[in-house]
Amino acid sequence: MQFRPRLQTMTQYLLPLMAIVLVAAIFVADTITDLEIAVPVFYTAVILISVRFCSRRGLVLVGLGCVALTLLSDFLTPESSSSETGIINTIISILAIIATTALVLRIDSAERAVYDARAQLAHVARVTALGELTASIAHEVNQPIAATVINGNASLRWLSADPPNLDEARVAIERIVKDANRAADVVGRVRKLARRAPAQKVLCDVNSVISEIITLTATELRKQYIALESSLSGDLEPIFADPVQLQQVMLNLILNSIDAMQGMPEGGRFLFIGSTKADSGGILVTVRDSGVGFEQAALDHIFDAFYTTKSGGMGLGLTVTRSIIEAHAGRIWVEPNNPRGAIFRFTLPPVTDEVKMPRAASLANKA
């Protein structure tokens, strides 16, 4: 999952440039001046800058390069370097460079571990959410399979009639093809959500993400006697996002609403899903239900990890939801619905010119 800040054009070019200028300055200062201080210690700053744009291997090379330049300076100015202070300064500098490189590498791998753990958590949360839909997904697949078996039998009957009724047989076979595709679509939708794929931001249409999840949950909504109303604005610009993660957000919010409405009378379960342009540019998505809602005290905590108002909940769904939205530079909040229920809203920023460039986009995905 993409929790790391994305590389921007500035860091792409400016930071390497800064690092090079700094290396040159330190090298020159170290070589031509005869100061009684360990000038090469400042190479540690170069390493700290390099961590922003270098791979782990690159960082090791930068560290080694700094050590080599330190030794080169000493080689070029033998008279000052051969003094006792000079040798001590060189040793101090090299130790500082090695220690800094090692620490930076350790911090980097710790951060990686955190990102990996978060991505795993998000995946677990996603599969758990899908698990809540197991019965209705099985139903969704079972219906077209049942229809396929029946249509197969029917086409055999039409073909073995005397004379064979080819037109009717053709109709039945066309239905088989249609139903097989329908079953495959369901499986495809589920598999896309269940897969453990690395985060990948692409230009995507928020409405089609929402529609996909509405289709996935339609059977469950019907089973729970929930009336769904959706209003998806037709003039939304595509945004730069990971479609699977956005689907996870929609799935979590819809499942949340389904749970919240379980205790409501059958005629009083309304779910509204809407998308519009946000005032700030970008997109505003609304999920509104007529469920139990939240107490004022709960409103402040519902996005916290392990905070749950459900008996069987883990308290992860909304936490993951928020971290996904935030990783997309968006914002999510909740407010009470009138007369009852909750309104979840989130915004997603518009595509900036920067990410429209394919190169920047592909670099951003590596972050």
Binding site: A135, A138, H139, N142, Q143, P144, I145, A146, A147, T148, V149, I150, N151, N153, A154, R157, W158, A161, N165, E168, V171, A172, R175, K178, D179, R182, R222, K223, Y225
Partner: protein, 123 residues
């Protein structure tokens, strides 16, 4: 068995299953007509001539089992075969004790369906 095949109504909100079942029964010479909901069937002119119902258990509005109960209460107990994609032992037991002819789980075989219809319409 009579030589004139009985008229059968198929009530299922799932269009694929409804059309498929209707098609299969027509291929076997039955007069078969599909309805998307119990209400649609109740408001049709087929109510009196239908000699067997094949109804889905889970439908928006009136469920298959409720429809059977309603018809029986109105003095018109049409022999009914319930079909479902959500097998539930409680509902099955309740349905059979209420007098439903059979309870089939989707996907069911042609033989299961035909045997059930035959058993339902024999009496």
């Amino acid at each position: 068995m009579t030589t004139i095949k009985p008229s059968i109504a198929i009530i299922d909100d799932d269009e694929s299953v409804r059309e498929a079942t209707t098609g299969l029964l027509r291929s076997l010479g039955y007069i078969a007509k599909g309805f998307a909901s119990a209400d649609e069937f109740l408001n049709s002119n087929r109510l009196r001539i239908t000699s067997c119902l094949i109804a889905d258990v889970h439908m928006p509005g009136i469920s298959g089992l409720a429809l059977f109960g309603q018809l029986r209460a109105a003095g018109n107990p049409i022999p009914t075969v319930l079909i479902t994609a959500y097998p539930d032992e409680d509902i099955r037991a309740r349905a059979l004790s209420a007098g439903v002819s059979n309870y089939l789980i989707k996907p069911f075989s042609e033989k299961e369906l035909l045997d059930s219809i035959e058993a339902a319409t024999k009496h």
